[in-house]
């Protein structure tokens, strides 16, 4: 059961990227939460969540994405979500009333 999921993060001068692929399920949620909290902490200015290679998104992951988007908004961090290339993933979510959060534009002044 379960295809191996890989979760990668990169952070450089407040600009971060999180990328995961394959099946993102409940067992990955705790790790993702910790990672998102870290990447949204100061001096974060931008976060890209790359879901382009995701083949399945669990409800728990989706909740974290919504919470992260809200957190980004509160912290005035630009948050961009790269949608799954597999359209079936998004369609499957929409069928049951779910969707990905929209991108969050930062209102924060760029770092000097």
């Amino acid at each position: 059961m379960g295809t191996v999921m890989s979760l990668e993060s990169r952070c450089e001068a407040g600009v971060s990227q999180v990328r995961f692929s394959n099946q993102a399920d409940l067992s990955d949620a705790a790790e993702l939460k910790a990672m998102l909290l870290e990447l949204l902490s100061p001096p974060a200015t931008a976060l890209t969540i790359d879901l382009s290679e995701v083949s399945e998104l669990h409800v728990s992951i989706l909740q974290l994405l919504w919470a992260a988007a809200h957190e980004a908004q509160v912290r005035k961090v630009t948050c961009q979500i790269l949608q799954p290339e597999d359209h079936g993933v998004l369609d499957g979510l929409v069928d049951i009333g779910l969707s990905l959060p929209s991108n969050v534009e930062s209102t924060q002044e760029p770092a000097a």
Partner: protein, 724 residues
């Protein structure tokens, strides 16, 4: 750049729990199927089967058993059609479902799904049946793949729109359920529009990633009725808030947008969902409000506990019982009211604790019996015999450990009966017997034991042939004098078989010896009664529990014995002169009834000073009432049964040993076997060789030596007094 690879975990604990539940369900499914007759579609039974299949399918999908879930789907459809009156419950469907239940069991037990072809062949047969008989156009066009199949819906008064509000319990996902799958399943029922409310979602820092904070508002347009919609939520209904109502004109339909995104007050929040407030209303049809998680906790009547934990609990209680006995013994030595009161209270509590912990391990024998329905069904079909299986005493409870070890012996007895005991239809007709054979499984309590009987109305055991075969095999001498019971007992000898040909089922002489070995391992015994042409009845006598018993502590000289309280009737005093005047006849008159007694002093060859008065403990056994003569009756005691070990395995009269409060050891008597051994009066001289736990280093052995009693009783005597 830092990289953190992580693997998706398997959620093993949920899969283990699912496996257990699914296996239970499949057992129940099998029993129900076997109880159904062709064309007899008892609506309640058919609905039960449908629900079981639905459960296996639904929870299978939740816990990652996707092949199982897909495989079960068409069967679920078929039984949905049966309960909807669109499909006749045929023998074919029952047979296919039985075969399918075997496949499902394999899929539950094995991670490797094996070959797909046989599964698809079964699915094809189900679809063919459904397509051939169903009147529903939806069901008559089988899907091209398993995943594409759609459940058939009961045609009611046409499609209808339902308003569903679904708020999964916070811990739903932690228990392995995926709410998205449930909503997706609803979507398969028809046309669905859903809105998710994320109002309850905490901040990123506060969110528990394994909890579910979503609520769904759903509008569903479907043919399905309320029951069918509710069944989707079968596994989470106890932990979620759920409201299902038909939409009426005055009910606001769900918005058409997939996700509600109302205009935010603060433009900065424009990209985030502003959650809607949803109130769950009561279901007017069911007359009850939504069930909340706390309801589930209050309403829970049973939980699953690993047997290992129960074993540990009973072991600890056993140790407590031993320590409590020690405390009571110490209290009896001190004339202190406070200590005595505490000791009595501890005794009372430990007795109650013991009762509770033991009762947690007791299970009805029903499941064990029910397991054999399928075996009998399959064997009857393969052997061309018409067999009616009946079960009685299914509520009789036994210790789980005992039940686990009964499966094999019962299976061998049933196979033997089916293969050798019961005749074919032609043979029965020729002898004027009813063509339908009878096979009966029966359980009942008998004191501290349970008697389990497998009986048939077949041809019976030919004792002459058994004897002849035993002589041929060198098991007995040609001139051996054996009672009929002893001759029947030969069928349990290793390698013994009277079958003229070896079949797939039996005839190799393997099996019945396993029965005896297993039953003796359980400290049980076997009794065979057979009448030529009328049938055979084999009774297993099994102790209720192997762990702790209520006993009566008695002593002979320095030796302590424990007598199971359940078999003790009363205690009578007997004087030395009465024994002397009996002229060797071991008989006593109890209120006009003559009762035979066994003097343990003589039987076990215990040398100690004779008291002026001895005590006769009257006990009940299968052979009637008997007296056991001891020096003193010390009182009742809770007894943690300890194994006597390998050296004592052939000492039938003893069922174990226990540690006393004073640190000494008492042997636990098995009155039934003790009486049997006495009646038999035969015991090969070299049968026992053991070391008595109370006689220190003095080895003892059984002997027919009579020098202590002058009787013919076998006994345990110090090895120094016997021939080497």
């Amino acid at each position: 750049m830092s990289t953190t690879p992580c693997e998706a975990q398997t959620g093993d604990q949920f899969r283990v729990a699912f496996r257990e539940e699914a296996l239970d369900l499949l057992r129940q499914l099998e029993s129900l199927l076997l109880s159904l007759g062709e064309g007899e579609a008892d609506p309640e039974q058919v609905s039960s089967i449908f629900r079981m299949l639905h459960t296996v399918k639904g929870s299978g999908a939740m816990f990652g058993f996707t092949i199982l879930s897909a495989f079960t789907h068409d069967l679920e459809n078929a039984f949905d059609a049966v309960r909807g009156g669109r499909l006749v419950l045929s023998r074919d469907l029952i047979e296919i479902t039985l075969e399918a239940s075997d496949v499902m069991r394999d899929l539950v037990l094995n991670d490797d799904a094996g070959e797909q072809e046989p599964r698809m062949a079964l699915v094809g047969r189900v679809r063919k049946l459904v397509a051939a008989t169903t009147t529903s156009p939806q069901s008559s066009s089988p899907s091209s793949t398993l995943d594409e199949a759609r459940p058939a819906m009961t045609a009611t008064s046409g499609p209808r729109r339902w308003r569903i509000e679904f708020a999964p319990g916070l811990d739903t996902m932690r228990y392995g359920a995926d709410p998205a799958l449930l909503v997706r399943e609803l979507g398969r029922m028809g046309s669905l529009r859903a809105v998710v409310d994320l109002d309850a979602l905490p901040s990123l820092a506060e969110i528990d990633p394994e909890r579910c904070y979503m609520r769904w508002k759903i509008s569903l347009h479907t043919d399905a009725d309320l029951l069918q919609i509710r069944e989707v939520f079968l596994f989470v209904e106890d932990t979620c808030e759920l409201s299902i109502e038909p939409e009426t004109e005055d009910v606001q339909p769900a918005p058409s947008a997939a996700v509600a995104q109302p205009a935010p007050e603060n433009p900065a929040d424009a990209t985030v969902i502003a959650p809607q407030v949803t109130e769950t209303t009561q279901d007017p049809r069911s007359g009850r409000g939504p069930r909340r998680p706390q309801d589930m906790v209050e309403n829970a009547t049973a939980i699953r506990v690993a047997t290992g934990k129960l074993d540990q609990l009973v072991n600890l209680v056993g140790e407590l019982v031993t320590v409590q006995a020690r405390l009571s013994e110490i209290a009896s030595r001190y004339d202190d009211g406070d200590i005595s009161a505490v000791a009595e209270e501890i005794e009372r509590l430990s007795a109650a604790l013991r009762e509770s912990s033991m009762s947690a391990r007791m299970m009805p024998i029903r499941d064990t019996f029910e397991r054999f329905r399928r075996l009998v069904y399959d064997l009857a079909r393969d052997l061309g015999k018409n067999v009616r299986l009946s079960m009685e005493g299914c509520e009789t409870e036994l210790d789980k450990t005992v039940l686990d070890q009964l499966g094999d012996p019962l299976m061998h007895l049933i196979r033997n009966s089916m293969d050798h005991g019961l005749e074919t239809t032609d043979q029965r007709a020729a002898t004027g017997k009813p063509v339908e054979c009878s096979l009966r499984l029966h359980a009942r309590y008998s004191g501290a034991n349970v008697l389990i009987t497998v009986s048939d109305d077949g041809r019976g055991i030919d004792s002459a042939r058994v004897r002849q075969r035993a002589v041929e095999k060198g098991i007995i001498a040609a001139d051996a004098a054996l009672t009929e019971a002893e001759v029947f007992g030969l069928i349990f000898e290793p390698g013994f078989s009277t079958a003229s040909e070896v079949t797939d089922l039996s005839g190799r002489g393997v099996g019945m010896d396993v029965v005896r070995r297993n039953i003796e391992h359980l400290r049980g015994s076997i009794e065979v009664v057979s009448h030529a042409g009328k049938g055979t009845s084999i009774t297993l006598r099994i102790p209720l529990t192997l762990a702790i018993i209520d006993g009566l502590l008695v002593s002979v000289g320095e030796q302590y014995f424990v007598l199971p309280l359940a078999q003790a009737l009363e205690c009578i005093e007997i004087s030395r002169s009465e024994i002397d005047n009996a002229e060797g006849k071991h008989l006593i008159k109890v209120r006009g009834e003559v009762v035979a007694y066994i003097r343990l002093r003589d039987y076990f060859g215990i040398e100690a000073d004779l008291p002026e008065f001895e005590q006769v403990m009257l006990v009940t056994t299968d052979a009637g009432r008997y007296g056991l003569v001891v020096d003193r009756v010390l009182g009742d005691c809770q007894t943690m049964v300890k194994s006597l070990g390998r050296l004592y395995r052939n000492v039938n009269e003893l069922s174990g040993a226990t540690v006393l409060g004073n640190g000494g050891v008492a042997l636990i008597l098995d009155p039934h076997r003790l009486v049997q051994e006495c009646i038999r009066g035969v015991m090969p001289a070299t049968r026992l060789l053991a070391r008595s736990p109370v006689m220190g280093d003095t080895p003892v052995r059984a002997s027919t030596d009579n020098r202590n009693s002058g009787s013919n009783s076998p006994k345990i005597v110090p090895i120094s007094q016997t021939a080497a």
